[in-house]
Symmetry: C5
Subunit: 150 residues, 5 copies
């Protein structure tokens, strides 16, 4: 299947792009933790994400601000983002580690009969519940998770 | 569709209003992180939101108090707010970055037949589950997310 | 409807009682954040809640301990409490800001026919899902949220 | 009903046992916050829980490490534990306050007819949803919450 | 059943492997807290996990960075990982305590009749909901939790 991985190390001038190949699956990121490294300078490190809004316009948001001596880690509470997305340091020279989950929704074959409308409804609901639970591995053949660092 | 974005930078005297156009959709904000900037002075910065209660009365609440040297970021745990809402600094000169998700519930056509009662029940339940999961992108045609900074 | 608001400022000797009028609705508080103020003295401020157990016995719990210089805000993760409840400072002179959501479950008319048993089951489930999602505004006529500060 | 309470104050040499009476109900703890007291010495206080694994073997885990001057409170994110469980300080002399929710699942009468299999399925699902939502008070007759301090 | 336990103490050079025996059950870890010990040196301790992506490739991620004097505990928010997984200190000499939940999905007998397709759908959905709720003990015969320290 060739699933992309979520998890990376950010440094000044080295952004990380997360853009799964167009495989007809729905991809979702659930970003969990941002953590400094022992080699991170004692300054404020600001993690920024850049994504797209529903019209394809570029939007940016600050995910976390960390400082080794006061806040070396912060839980992001499962911040959910739809790729494509770029992670970068807006300030600070890093490194900052980002970890989380990459959810892939595998739709399977969808052959519609006359109950098309209703069937579709059901499938949608099921998928939504499934991914929302962040337990993809429990729904084999449907969902797959990958959390790592490149 | 012209979806408003959630995500902003607050500064003393510069409040940010979030008021989606009246488009017959339900809008919901899920505010995730509040973070200081390297340019933020080392003082307590208090983020306040102002919304409305069910009677249209103005209500205010403190979302977060940050200080660059002790708590540069705080996870808000997905604090959910129904717009219209104003974000501002109640104390401190900022800047403070706010990020989160803007959920839009697109209801679609609802032509009711004799099964109206039951159908409605089902739709309500589905929508509730859907938004609750904060995975709007997984329910294409129903929900749309935008997280950014203006 | 006259919905009570959640959100308050605690000071030594000034407790805040949250006791919605007896309106046949179910009320639930989801307490999200506790934050100090720039005027809060640099000492430990301990937030206590007092509620009732299932037998009507008074019970107390410590919600948060804050100190301006080390932990000016803390996420309570959506601590859920059934009113009536009193919030107060057990130690420290405050002020401490508390914010969260006040959920009201409006049951609507429940005229039971011969399918009473089954219908009731369904309604219960739906309400549970609904409130659990903390997205009351999405279920108009059923749930209403108010987050503010008095 | 005589529901036990969750919520306690731990001190060196004073562990707190949580073991609901055997009442045929399912009990679950959702531990939310650990907080120091103004009388807590400025040292690391380590909160340990001791429970049982599925074979009845004793297992221990560290829930939180707090220090008044650096981290006076920590959100445990709703750490769920099935009683019986013992809370104690593994290090430090305390006091440390623990708060959370005690969920009781009241099963009600279960008279099975020929649709036993299916009915059971439905009930299981409903209960799971119900408790999972941590909104026991919304499901009167099924679930009851008690959060307090002894 | 012989359930493995989640919960461990990490030290430099002493990694902890979590690899449940191949028992046809689905296993899932929900990692909740990372905490230092009073014996932990005042340096940055970086907790790393190593797992596998969907292709069996080794992936690593940083779970938390702790320092006794500034951040002695951090909530990981229920970071979910599918075993096999290795926990280790990437930096620092520890000890660092990790705690969480180990969920086991017991599938039971699955004898498929002509309604195979539909039945399977239902079972999947139920399991997903079940585990997602992290209330395994409430679904006796289906799920079992173990949180401890070895």
């Amino acid at each position: 299947a060739g699933l992309p991985k979520l998890g990376c190390q950010l440094q000044a001038g080295k952004e990380v792009r997360f853009n799964p190949e167009d495989d007809n699956y729905d991809h979702q990121l659930s970003v969990r933790m941002a953590c400094v490294d022992p080699t991170t300078k004692d300054e404020l490190n600001v993690v920024e994400i850049e994504g797209q809004d529903s019209e394809g316009q570029k939007v940016k948001a600050v995910l976390a601000t960390l400082k080794p001596s006061s806040l070396p880690s912060v839980c992001l509470g499962g911040f959910e983002i739809t790729p494509p997305v770029v992670f970068r340091l807006r300030s600070g020279s890093g490194p900052v580690h980002i970890s989380g989950q990459h959810l892939v929704i595998m739709e399977g074959d969808q052959s519609f009969d006359e109950d098309e409308e209703e069937e579709e409804e059901e499938e949608e609901e099921e998928e939504t519940l499934t991914t929302a639970k962040k337990r993809p591995a429990l729904v084999t053949q449907k969902l797959s998770v990958s959390s790592g660092i490149n």
